[in-house]
């Protein structure tokens, strides 16, 4: 028996496809998420919009919260470690968390290096804004990607930008001649072998979800339309007026993303969504998507 193989780590993310992964901060929210049909929950101390509001250093959640969430649900539980924080990642792995997110939502612990994720038995998801970033994370051993968007804003524009960018760059790569790939690797800052593999298979070797700014069922469906394998919804759900109803609507809109009549029904009387922040109002150094290298 072999544990922690690429196939097992990437396969876990394959099973999440077409689903919604929801941020939760306690057992009660985790149960609402599971009941609504979430494929996994992300256990956090604060959702991104509260992290943004609170300022200061954002770290791994209190293990007690993570444990409480793990005990509350049977669906997989994910948790976030700071970029480059080897010990936070090892601690969460030791606790039996099912998937780790080396996340720009938390304050980075290392401004130069990411975790060598291939060394861990637990699989990792990482953020990306373009193919170079995606390929570097895959090169380090990430088993799943998510486009970064701009977390905690309730504004979909960055998530759309990043999903379109990654997919456009994959399409371009797939149509390149083999003798052009090394230069493309240099230009993207991407590992050559990962690009070769993507060209050969015609797609990313891991699942790519959308994240960062999804605030309505239509937003979730839009990201699926643009080629996301599934969506992460952070602040959107539990900052809304009726989280259970909102969560169910997001799940259904993700499953049936091209059924516009259904999405219209789902979107009725959901109450006030997140207020949302215009991206240009966020100072560049406050933008979470800029974190990661």
């Amino acid at each position: 028996m072999n544990i922690g193989t690429d196939r097992v780590k990437r396969g876990m993310a394959e099973m999440q496809k077409g689903g919604v992964i929801m941020d939760v901060v306690n057992a009660e929210q985790a149960k609402i998420a599971e009941e609504a049909g979430a494929v996994a929950v992300m256990a956090l101390e604060r959702v991104p919009s509260d992290i943004r509001a609170a300022g200061g250093v954002a770290r791994m959640a209190d293990p007690r919260i993570v444990e409480e969430v793990m005990n509350a649900v049977t669906i997989p539980v994910m948790a976030k470690a700071r970029i480059g924080h080897i010990v936070e990642a090892r601690v969460l792995e030791a606790m039996g968390v099912d998937y780790l997110d080396e996340s720009e939502v938390l304050t980075p612990a290392d401004e130069e290096y990411h975790l060598l994720k291939s060394e861990y038995t637990v699989p990792f998801v990482c953020g990306c804004r373009d193919l170079g970033e995606a390929a570097r994370r895959i090169g380090e051993g990430a088993s799943m990607l998510r486009t970064k968007g701009e977390p905690g804003t309730g504004n979909i524009v960055e998530a759309v930008r990043h999903m379109r960018k990654v997919n456009a760059q994959v399409r371009k790569l797939v149509h390149m001649n083999d003798d052009e790939i090394m230069t493309e690797a240099k230009l993207l800052g991407a590992p050559f072998e990962v690009l070769l593999q993507i060209k050969k298979e015609g797609k990313l070797p891991v699942v790519n979800f959308a994240a960062g700014g999804i605030a309505t069922p239509a937003d979730a469906a839009l990201m699926m339309e643009l080629g996301a394998d599934g969506v992460f919804v952070g602040s959107g759900i539990f900052k809304s007026d009726n989280p259970a109803k909102f969560a169910r609507a997001i799940v259904e809109a993700t499953t049936h993303y091209q059924d516009y009549k259904l999405i219209a029904e789902l979107s009725k009387e959901l109450g006030e969504p997140m207020k949302g922040i215009e991206i240009s109002k966020i100072a560049p150094e406050q933008r979470m998507q800029e974190r990661g290298w």
Partner: protein
């Protein structure tokens, strides 16, 4: 040519479609109950069983799926799909579809970090089969008439009960399409038998 559906509410749908097509059958992604009528067999894919169950209830799939099985058309459940098919689930009062005469236990090999790959011998399919287990369930006991097809570490991981086939691992994640081929064979036999009766 037989037409095989893959329940497309959530999970590894695309991979099953690929393995059906590799074996020369026609694949259909099933998103609504009406689509079941045209099929000769149905695969319930891997994914999250609780999520699939919520969506099954919400779109009125429960009775149509049961009638599909009761009509004698073959069904194949992998991992989460196996849990949906089982007649009994350890720790739960009610099964989901309850069609296949087996008792299953969810996440019985542990959490994700205990997920693994192993070489299996599968009856009627062959040895040296590389199976991928992800937060996998296992079959605690097989009811009368259910044939055990594979075991891993003393636990039942694949079985067949009449026209129901189930395994706790993920054949769709590898390039070995022998199990899909076996299931397509079941669908062909059932189609021929149903045409006569």
């Amino acid at each position: 040519m037989v037409k095989i559906g893959v329940l497309g509410l959530q999970g590894a749908v695309r991979e099953h479609v690929r393995s059906i097509e590799e074996n020369g059958a026609e694949a259909v992604v099933v998103k609504w109950p009406e689509q079941l009528d045209e099929l000769d067999g149905l695969i319930l894919p891997g994914g999250e069983s609780t999520t699939m169950r919520r969506l099954i209830d919400r779109y009125g799939f429960m009775e149509p799926l049961r009638s599909f099985g009761e009509s004698g058309r073959p069904m194949f459940g992998t991992c989460a799909g196996l849990i949906l098919l089982a007649s009994d689930i350890v720790g739960y009062n009610q099964p989901h579809l309850g069609l296949m005469n087996i008792t299953v236990e969810r996440n019985s090999f542990g959490r994700q970090k205990e997920s693994f790959e192993a070489e299996l011998f599968i009856k009627d399919i062959g040895d040296d089969y590389n199976a991928v287990f992800i937060r996998a369930p296992h079959i605690v006991s097989a009811g009368g008439g259910t044939e055990v097809l594979a075991e891993c570490d003393g636990r039942i991981v694949a079985a067949r009960d009449r026209h129901y086939l189930g395994c706790s691992f993920h054949p769709e994640l590898t390039n070995d399409h022998r199990i899909a081929d076996y299931f397509i064979g079941m669908a062909k036999e059932a189609k021929a038998a149903l045409a006569i009766s």
